[in-house]
Structure formats: structure tokens, C-alpha cells
């Protein structure tokens, strides 16, 4: 995502090395993603679902 848009920065953090940050963001399981300090995503999600949640986009309309 960072490579595709210069406004995006992506950090991969080793949770056990940076325990203070893990505590700050209540990392109790991995992977856990934090976006702009406000959005939390638990676990590994399919690509589109992950990007929707990370960018706070509305859910797609349900298929009929």
C-alpha cells in the first residue's frame, strides 16, 4: 500500500521486541494492524477486506 501511494507509510513491527508499543496498542494476538492510531484490524484478512477496513471504506453492497 505504501509503495502505491506516497501518503501511506507502512511499518512492520516485531511485537516481542517492542513490548511498550505492543502494550500501547493492546497486541494480544498477531498479526494486528493499527491504522492512524484509530483503526484496529485483528488477524490476516483477504486483500480487499483488509484494504477496506484499513482505509475505513464502506462495506460493499450485499449481493442479491
Amino acid at each position: 500500500m505504501a509503495a502505491a501511494n506516497e501518503l501511506i507509510t507502512a511499518d512492520a513491527i516485531e511485537a516481542t521486541e517492542f513490548m511498550d508499543l505492543s502494550r500501547k496498542y493492546h497486541v494480544t494476538g498477531v498479526p494486528k494492524t493499527i491504522v492512524n492510531e484509530t483503526i484496529e484490524i485483528m488477524g490476516a484478512l483477504p486483500e480487499q477486506m483488509f484494504v477496506r477496513q484499513a482505509l475505513d471504506l464502506p462495506d460493499p453492497p450485499e449481493a442479491t
Binding site: M1, A2, A3, A4, N5, E6, L7, I8, T9, A10, D11, A12, I13, E14, A15, T16, E17, F18, L21, S22, Y25, V27, V30, P31, K32, T33, I34, V35, N36, E37, E47, Q48, V51, R52, A54, L55, L57
Partner: protein
């Protein structure tokens, strides 16, 4: 002795063969008060760089290289910043890149070295439409 087995090295070398652009891996470590993971990170990066002559490792001090720290907005160490032909890709790794982080590092090197992003076209549209600073932090563990 290397951290990568000869078999892993051969597989990795093959993966990295798609790279056409120079990739710089800028490693920030602390000589004093730092953890062992800085040494592990350095060894891993050097082993990766030895497999492809387009990949180089640039070592920086987290304590002394304050200008570079500010330039890449590094606030903890060990940290790895990935540059594509000298340009900051804004992909950073914190901690020793072992386990899942190793996979992420290799993928990031390939993106930086090919300028190709393997994402669905629709997802790419959403990402390219982002118009405000967005900071993504992904926490993982070695196993």
C-alpha cells in the same frame, strides 16, 4: 555460519532474480544499549544482499545519524528502511526480520526492486485515492 541454509539461499536467490532496480536496505542499529536483534538484522540483510548485486546494505547509527533518522522518521531500533533506486518506499521494518517479518522483507524488496505491486486493480484504485497521510503499523512475531 549463515542464518540461511544453502537450500534457502538458492530459493531466495531465484525469487530475487526478478529485481531490475537497485534496492538499498538502510539499517539503523544502536551500538550501545541496543538489543541482540540489531546484529541478527545486520546478518540477515547482509546474507540477502550477497545473493543479488542490486541489493546493498547501508548501516546507520540510531544514536549518531540523527539527520538520517529524521529523514526517514525512525523512532526506534533496529529499523530497516527500504529504498528503491534511492527513493524512500515508505516501507519500514522494526526488529530483526525473522519469521513472518522475513517473508514481508523479501516481498518488500521485490516491490522496491521491480516497481510492481501485486494487488487487485480495484484495491489499487482505493489505495491510490487516499488523499491524507495514513500510517499503517502491522505487529507480528517471529513464529
Amino acid at each position: 555460519m549463515g542464518l540461511l541454509s544453502p537450500q534457502d539461499e538458492a530459493t531466495l536467490k531465484n525469487h530475487l532474480s526478478v529485481i531490475t532496480l537497485p534496492v538499498q536496505l538502510v539499517l539503523f542499529t544502536q551500538a550501545f544499549g541496543g538489543s541482540e536483534s540489531g546484529d541478527v538484522a545486520k546478518q540477515i540483510l547482509n546474507e540477502i544482499a550477497s545473493l543479488n548485486d542490486k541489493i546493498t546494505v547501508v548501516e546507520k547509527s540510531f544514536v549518531l545519524d540523527t539527520e538520517d533518522k529524521a529523514k526517514y522518521k525512525i523512532d526506534k531500533a533496529p529499523a530497516i528502511v527500504i529504498l528503491s533506486d534511492g527513493i524512500n518506499t515508505r516501507m519500514r521494518l522494526y526488529g530483526a526480520p525473522t519469521g513472518y517479518e522475513f517473508v514481508g522483507l523479501v516481498e518488500a524488496i521485490i516491490v522496491a526492486g521491480t516497481s510492481k505491486i501485486d494487488l487487485d486493480p480495484e484495491t489499487m484504485k482505493w489505495i491510490q485515492a487516499v488523499d491524507k497521510p495514513t500510517h499503517i503499523q502491522v505487529f507480528s512475531t517471529p513464529t
